[in-house]
Symmetry: C2
Subunit: 388 residues, 2 copies
């Protein structure tokens, strides 16, 4: 049954090869100081940085530099970004990069005018901002996280060995996002496929929960089929515009709240993956791929009807004359075959995890209760061991 | 290939059995004069009118009455609504009803402060509003049109024998919509199934166009499967909350611009149906059902790949050892069987159309060019005759 909920997502999206030009339509809505957020500098090599700065200057903006955002943005970097914003009276946080830059921009946006410690307030106590929020805009260069159209932000605290995500409300969502599929072409293959699996995992997290026949599940299946189809084309030819554009658009809709509406969700793959990430600093999508199959095989008997539906609807598994369990297992085998074809990490040991980290990772794994089976700590340890 | 586009849809939705209570959260955002728009008075019988007025009064609002909106809102009624709004300095247009009331509210919203004739400006010349737009809120009592989350408005001019829809931009979309599936329970069965087919037709109009493999098409297939599934449950038990809630949510997403993004669309079933509606004043969904199959059978050879996909993905038609044409025909036969099971009008003669109207209806049919075959006038006449 569709539960009660509200829905609002007012992020304005500009999508396509020509989308960067619309930045000039958005900029007049904000004051002069634009904090330009980016990562390791790849946007300086591929020309995106110059193109953005040119538009900012043509619109009379002051560019406040905030580069060096790492793949898993840290609490120290967050504090640095807040200082930059305060020192420069930032009017707009403009993230140019992947989900890390968008996530980081949102964390800064709610921290600039906040008197409390943002890590404690937002990522430990999960409170909502009471202060003024600095507006965020995104220019996306990697498809995967969906951060361009949601209120989510994941921050890593290496000292505490914690990687924690907070999904903020609609006020924290980006005001606008610019999605140019061609900006994702220069991404290394490994990052592309990690992003693809991140998308797929977002959909699974919202799909593998609940007993009812929910419109959200039909939409989720459509998104899964689209990303599977396009992933195999992009794997052969990363510059296939149709495939890359469909992947980018699917990423946005996989995690902008729509397909979670009216239903429960799981998110344990992310909890396990984030614990692995806190210990290894590995690419997010690869931590998700490396923990997925042992987790899903563990919970499958408890959500048999949905895993059977997944096999039939998403993977076209033959059902005639076979038991529900056989069908469900074939679905997960089909998922595994696709993952191996993409070249995803299938073991956390590939990411630098080792036996002596298992207990610590288990401690860092938040146990959520929305999935088909509520794990206890011993099951978390068992699953992480199976992932080694 | 995903084309270039922008997307923004900022309508706040409150969904569920308890959603009316959130009206009080929205009202403080607007001035005191609320123009209460409704239809033939069914909301006075089922208690919704009293519940809404009670909330309006508790929030200190002045209620400006604007009842009697007909199923196909007329240009005369539009002029009456504009006068009511001007005389009472309306601050919020609150539509309580189905798509007709929402459509009408949007037409009034762009006409109140407009110096020109709204019929000529918006429905003949298809111009965008340059004036202030009065905000619109919706409380939905019928699922189907999707008007609760889009900028569309259809107005009928009986004198000119024209029924014309204009899809306005994002500024004309409702500010908020309240969707309570239980408010749709009191609808007569015929209206419920007409609404269900309206939903399905909206999806088809956006699906049957284009050659590429587009994420929008995967989403469209998901929505189609969801509405087919729920329709058969609601047919047996109109008070099945799960089915009615999924139908309501599917209706919203079938026509809020999402599944048209990055692709071409058709809309000829609506052009034909609206011409029939202008001559017969029949229920919108029934005009669509009565023209669909002759139209789709006519264009099918020109869009064979998509009609084959429709057969396989939406209806699960067996494909092995069969030609594309046979598969596509089986898909349309499956559609026809479902339509007959629902009890939809399958002929325009059932709706009061007769041979002597055919030429006039053909004149009233706008020929659009996004579908798999651009019709000429003689084909429109031929299809309308086949619908008799």
């Amino acid at each position: 049954m569709l539960g009660n909920f509200s829905y609002m997502n007012a992020t304005k999206l500009y999508f396509g090869e020509d989308s960067l030009q619309y930045l000039k339509d958005e900029l007049p809505k904000y004051g002069p100081a634009v904090q330009l957020i980016y990562g390791g500098g790849s946007i300086k090599k591929n020309g995106i940085y110059d193109a953005v700065v040119e538009i900012l200057k043509a619109c009379g903006k002051t560019v406040v530099e905030d580069g060096g955002v790492m793949p898993n943005p840290t609490v120290e970097k967050l504090r640095e970004g807040v200082k930059i914003a305060r020192d420069n009276h930032t009017d707009l946080l403009l993230a140019v990069g992947g989900g890390s830059c968008c996530d980081y921009a949102k964390a800064v946006s709610v921290a600039v005018h906040c008197d409390e410690d943002p890590w404690e307030k937002y990522f430990i106590r999960f409170e909502e901002p009471a202060c003024e929020i600095v507006p965020v805009g995104c220019i996306l260069t990697m498809a995967g996280t969906g951060s361009e159209m949601n209120g989510g932000s994941v921050i890593t605290n290496h000292e505490a060995k914690l990687k924690i995500g907070h999904v903020f409300g609609e006020n924290v969502m980006p005001k606008f996002s610019i999605l140019n599929p061609k900006f994702t072409y220069s991404l290394p293959q490994k990052q592309m496929i990690a992003g693809i699996y991140d998308i797929f995992s977002h959909i699974c997290e919202q799909y593998f929960s609940g007993e009812d026949d929910n419109t959200s599940d039909y939409l989720a299946e459509g998104l899964m089929k689209s990303v599977i189809h396009s992933s195999l084309i992009a794997l052969k030819n990363p510059e296939d515009y149709e495939a890359r554009s469909n992947i980018m658009w699917t990423a946005t809709w996989a995690l902008n709240t729509l397909i979670a509406k009216g239903k429960s969700t799981d998110w344990m793959v992310h909890m396990l993956g984030q614990a692995v990430g806190a210990y290894t600093d590995a690419t997010h999508g690869m931590t998700l791929s490396a923990v997925s199959l042992p987790y899903y095989r563990h919970i499958m008997p408890c959500g048999l009807a949905k895993f059977k539906r997944f096999a039939k609807e998403v993977w076209g598994v033959e059902t005639e004359g076979r038991s529900d369990m056989e069908i469900a297992e074939s679905g997960l085998s089909a998922l595994e075959a696709w993952m191996r074809q993409l070249g995803l990490a299938m073991k956390i040991s590939e990411l630098g995890a080792a036996e002596d980290m298992i207990e610590g990772m288990a401690d860092a794994t938040f146990i959520l209760k929305g999935g088909y089976k509520v794990l206890d700590r011993s099951e978390v340890v068992q699953i992480l061991r199976e992932c080694l």
